[in-house]
Symmetry: none
Amino acid sequence: MARLADPELADRRRRQILDAAIACFRRRGFHQATMQEICAEASMSAGALYRYYASKAEIIGAIAEDKHAETDVMFLDAARKGSAVDALSLVARDFFQKFADGDGALIADIFAESIRDDAIAEALHKINARSTAYCIEAIKTGQARGDVDRNLDPKQAANVLFAAIEGIGLRRAFLRESDPDAALADFRELAQRYLSPPHE
Amino acid sequence: MARLADPELADRRRRQILDAAIACFRRRGFHQATMQEICAEASMSAGALYRYYASKAEIIGAIAEDKHAETDVMFLDAARKGSAVDALSLVARDFFQKFADGDGALIADIFAESIRDDAIAEALHKINARSTAYCIEAIKTGQARGDVDRNLDPKQAANVLFAAIEGIGLRRAFLRESDPDAALADFRELAQRYLSPPHE
Amino acid sequence: MARLADPELADRRRRQILDAAIACFRRRGFHQATMQEICAEASMSAGALYRYYASKAEIIGAIAEDKHAETDVMFLDAARKGSAVDALSLVARDFFQKFADGDGALIADIFAESIRDDAIAEALHKINARSTAYCIEAIKTGQARGDVDRNLDPKQAANVLFAAIEGIGLRRAFLRESDPDAALADFRELAQRYLSPPHE
Amino acid sequence: MARLADPELADRRRRQILDAAIACFRRRGFHQATMQEICAEASMSAGALYRYYASKAEIIGAIAEDKHAETDVMFLDAARKGSAVDALSLVARDFFQKFADGDGALIADIFAESIRDDAIAEALHKINARSTAYCIEAIKTGQARGDVDRNLDPKQAANVLFAAIEGIGLRRAFLRESDPDAALADFRELAQRYLSPPHE
DNA sequence: GATGAATGAGCATTCATTCAT
DNA sequence: TATGAATGAATGCTCATTCAT
């Protein structure tokens, strides 16, 4: 009588829960949002939800990874085709858009959580290492091409630039300035000046 | 004979509560830390604590302002004496030290809280406006002197640089890299390259 | 298979809570009885109770209405069949029985609460208007028949008689005189003399 | 150096506390009003207040007696001079005025408290016995004179009439009808008809 | 697989009362 | 006498999680 577990259904349900949780966490933060709210948002009973995620912490972990991972996909292509600044701008633009969409507080929550919680930090470090690796690659390519100052340490520069993207996004969310294009312009100017070789 | 209400005592108690709350919030975050923990940390009964702060939210607000305001004092002097980069470095150094001291998650919490809560945001905007004003001044002075590129918009540049400080601090906390001098070196290089006039 | 929310269960639980609350409120009053006591009396956890009533105030409101409404049912029949005094006596008897059963203080609490709280007052006014309407009808019928003095204003008389019932009940509870039949005799004598046409 | 306790001061302070407590209890009820509120209303520190009353319960007891006693003074004179109805009307008028002044809920609280608390009840019974005695006297005088039906039991009648006064006052407070003269008219009509001998 | 009622420890907050000054 | 800061148990209420159906 019993059918085997349908893995597609499980994936669908997990996605449904994550989306609901993201919506709730945006509005209220990880620790203020309740499981009941998430259940309601996901149109799902508590029992059903707990079949897919064993605890609130697990959902938080899943979302942190999820948010961090999204950016990754587009990087590689862009990095080869254009300059380092153009590739980074693509990432930055995407990131700023999230802030414009109301993800600012959630991203800050993820920072807080990953600073405090080693398990989450570890998961995010892996994702971050990959993104950084692409960026380092792009910077090295730029240095080879001559658009990027050869005196810069590629890894250090990659981290500084990611930090700048995050900082600009956060600060603009704090200041209620939500135009992602303005944020991007700020970032491009910073990146350009930071990366350019002297006497350009 | 009647003893009059002692305003010094009130100040001392408030400080005591804030310090205890900061310790708890660092470890556990605003919404996970309990009032009982704060009371214990402050060696104070719940009743005593509530004489000085009417609610947990009020403590959160007070700490947010407190943390934000700390940096301010030193800025003005530094800005007149040295270059814009040197003045900013002073602020940055101080900020990075907080991360090294374990304030990273708390600062992220403050970002999250101020993005979500308009009342807290408003209070912080005032404090931030003052800091930014000093920085803008320093940049203008640098432009007059010729160490700062005249093509930069001072206000925009000030915000970008603050954003960079915050981003670098957060990212390093996330990566468990706690050396504030390394962070400062990263920031100085970024600021130098960003602010310098071309053909230097 | 999914079980649908059972509305009967909800009704049962609500009744169970109300009964427990009435028992507690009788003994200790609205504001001295604790939710824990009510939970214990209802053999229910706090969480379960709060699924059915959102707050203590809501329970107080529900009980106030409940107590007030109980009398209503029997009136109409009685009013048609017998004299106004007989119909009123039925209500009075029922009311005095409540005092004999220990409801006196609770009824006084309901008065206090409804005098102070407009929301509760409003709800009770509706219920009261219905009871009064039946009584007015009975008095008018009596006037038509000739057992009731035609000089009396029916509405005014109805309110005076209800007031007398309440006053007698309260005063007897205060005096620890709990015999409902003695109370009823007092009331009948008063009502008879008050309503009778002169020269009878 | 130390002066002996000044008994006048003590009386003044006690009065001050009682007045403040009455004001608070009116607004919020015995068990919802806090000692802090009473202290503030009395412009007195908690320590000072507790020198004069050992507990909140003691204040409640004192107020209950106080409220009940107020009526007493005027009765005796009136009872001798006019008819029983006139004497009772004086008391009733005074009582209805209290309701008009906002004492309704407090009076209901006193009923509740005295029904539940034997100590308070006992104290009030004494005061009540005195008032009732005066009323009984007035009724007997009326019976002797012939304005009061000789078939009525004087004690029973006195209690019924007091009950009616209380019931009318309470019910009007509940209905938000605050005109004391209208209440008095209701009562006079009731008392007149209740007390009058037949064939008048 | 899914439901949603139930749990109960835990939470922020209050308040009658005390006591050092 | 008077003050008012302090106490801390108790309050109304919440919520992550479980489990019988």
